[in-house]
Symmetry: C3
Subunit: 273 residues, 3 copies
């Protein structure tokens, strides 16, 4: 049961270093607090090594990358790897620009990543390069649907094996895979796409779940995905007349704040393939 | 009727590249989603040309400009112009510092802007230079009121003709002008000034309206202004005991989220001069 | 009575220049508007001198410092000092990295600070250096509790004398001291720690209170601390079933928005030692 993994976050209060975009950074900080973690943000190359040293995990999000913060990502990443910390990469916009694609690929190459979380397009870019699909594996479709699920699961597991990292592909159906197992998760609501940053929030929260559950990384990553999707469901149920995406944003974070292991266990919808 | 222009945003889902300040960036992203657009943020000079190429419009806001992001504004702006994209300038704080005044003036000179949106003080600075009023045109008053409306309308149209761009001056009364016509808009509430970023949000949203309505730029820009003001009215009506500017901020974005063409048509308050 | 000091903010509408982190900057801007002030953000070295010149106070927060913004802090700080403006330092994370510790110490040395606001760990770092406790004064405990209150009050007054600035130490019990008097404040709720940025917000608001009350800096700083804590209490009372830290964040800013002198006088809980 996945409920245990959020309980461990609340028990251990993992400190997470975030190098993240300035669009959604406040929500990332608040969702980390909501799930029981503790956030620190720092992207200056001269600052990041000290900061990451006192944390348990590093969440690298390239959403508004710049030359300075990219250097910060590498320096923080190398130090975090030396210390055996959890390192998660959120390759926001990989495939949309050369700088993003190359930065994500470079970080993947140089760092021992614990997990990579993105949408199918971003993950495909990392797997096949340059955003264009090439070769046999390129058969994986542009969206994970019931019709393409088998090939997507195979792709996720294969890429996890190749990358040596947990691969989390989020969308209408979420996949969380290592080389052997793949969680197929059906929590969440389409209206979550009407809010900026639910993916960024999930990456921050997943980092906390990984830090707090060192012996069960795959299950903990899946628990974070279920928690985020379930919060989207609970938050939606609390929507009132006249509410929109701004209210929904707050209600999702609030649902995480109030979620305990029992709620997560009762609401998580997943199978393992 | 202006309702059609928001419907076109929802239909076309225009992708808008924002180089915007880090104070209000999250609200800009969420209001773009709320009105039916799709936001991307990027300000790194090495990243912006790729990003703007996949978008339909560029929203340049100088609210927390720095040397790096200014270079990003020029590079993105030039590429967007080459591609015939919509380019909007929000000259936040023009007149308050030399760097802001010069950056806004430089962007105006080098780029073919589709629209410029600011308060009367910022627009006057662009029109007359250096924030000080000079010459005959300088008779335009410091605020657009019923008493100064005629001269303000003339000023807006004249400056639109000179700048070759739509000029949107927002305040108690809003003006949206090209060389020939000027919308005079009386939507909105004074309490909107108690929230940071309603102007920035409007600039983002206006960019989406312009992209989605290529054959009616002036009307689309006016529709965006009416939509924002009307959302301020609808949001205020939903305020509850104990609510303040934070709740109001959310309620305005929510009102945009729930606004369709019929609501906008029914609530838009404007005349054309 | 402290109520007068918030009334003066609403009357004078002090313009506050903030060089602050990008995590909580939107909340800082909105809380400044909520209390009656007016916020401007700028961190570019070429921009800050002009901007700070038109303001009444400068709020320096090192939460996401970088090489460029550090230069901005010094340049803005020097100009603000020349002009006799209020300058407040929020040494976020001092003690957690060498860059933060050294930047906070350097700003303290070079600038004539009006006030320093941080948690006990950050303030200890500034008082004793490097985050490690040294010498006799180092007996001050790691948290301000009823048991350690006497020594903490003595520490705050001594450090205020040495620093030549008001020292505000916030936590379960808040201390606001100059060399002679120390306010001991018992407003607030522990759940405020579950929101990112209540400290940053307080620093912004305190700067506005200091600017608007030039003849009573200590009392005005204490009033800001009471106002923030009281808003935390009022906001909590308005929490509804299912609300969490996101809703709480908004309710606190809303409580500031609705707070007048009479509410602050009735709710402020403090003694002077």
């Amino acid at each position: 049961m996945l409920g245990n993994y959020i309980e461990n976050v609340r028990k251990n209060v993992p400190l997470v270093h975030n190098i993240t975009n300035y669009v959604t950074v406040n929500d990332v900080a608040n969702v980390l607090l909501a799930c029981g973690g503790s956030p620190i943000m720092s992207d200056e190359p001269e600052d990041v090594e000290d900061i990451t040293s006192i944390c348990g995990g590093l969440n690298i999000n390239i959403g508004t990358l710049n030359r300075r913060s990219i250097e910060g990502m590498y320096r923080a990443g190398h130090r975090a790897c030396e210390l055996g910390h959890v390192v998660l990469l959120d390759p926001v916009g990989a495939g949309a620009s050369a700088l993003r694609t190359n930065t994500a690929a470079g970080l993947m190459k140089e760092l021992r990543l614990t997990a990579i979380r993105g949408n199918i397009s971003e993950i495909r870019t990392l797997a096949f390069g340059s955003g264009t699909t090439r070769g046999v594996d390129a058969d994986v479709a542009d969206a994970v649907t019931e019709a393409t699920l088998d090939e997507a699961v195979r792709f996720a597991r294969d890429f996890a094996a190749k990358a040596g990292a947990i691969i989390a592909i989020t969308g209408a159906i979420d996949l969380v895979a290592d080389a052997e197992r793949c969680y197929v998760i059906r929590n969440g609501r389409p209206e979550m796409g009407g809010i900026t940053g639910t993916g960024c929030q999930l990456s921050g929260m997943m980092t906390a779940f990984l830090v707090a559950n060192p012996k069960a990384h795959l299950d903990a990553a899946a628990a974070a995905v279920c928690a985020m999707g379930l919060a989207g469901e609970i938050g939606w149920d609390r929507m009132q007349e006249g509410d929109g995406n701004s209210a929904y944003r707050g209600r999702i974070i609030d649902a995480i704040y109030n979620m305990d292991g029992a709620v997560l266990d009762a609401g998580a919808k997943y199978e393992i393939r």
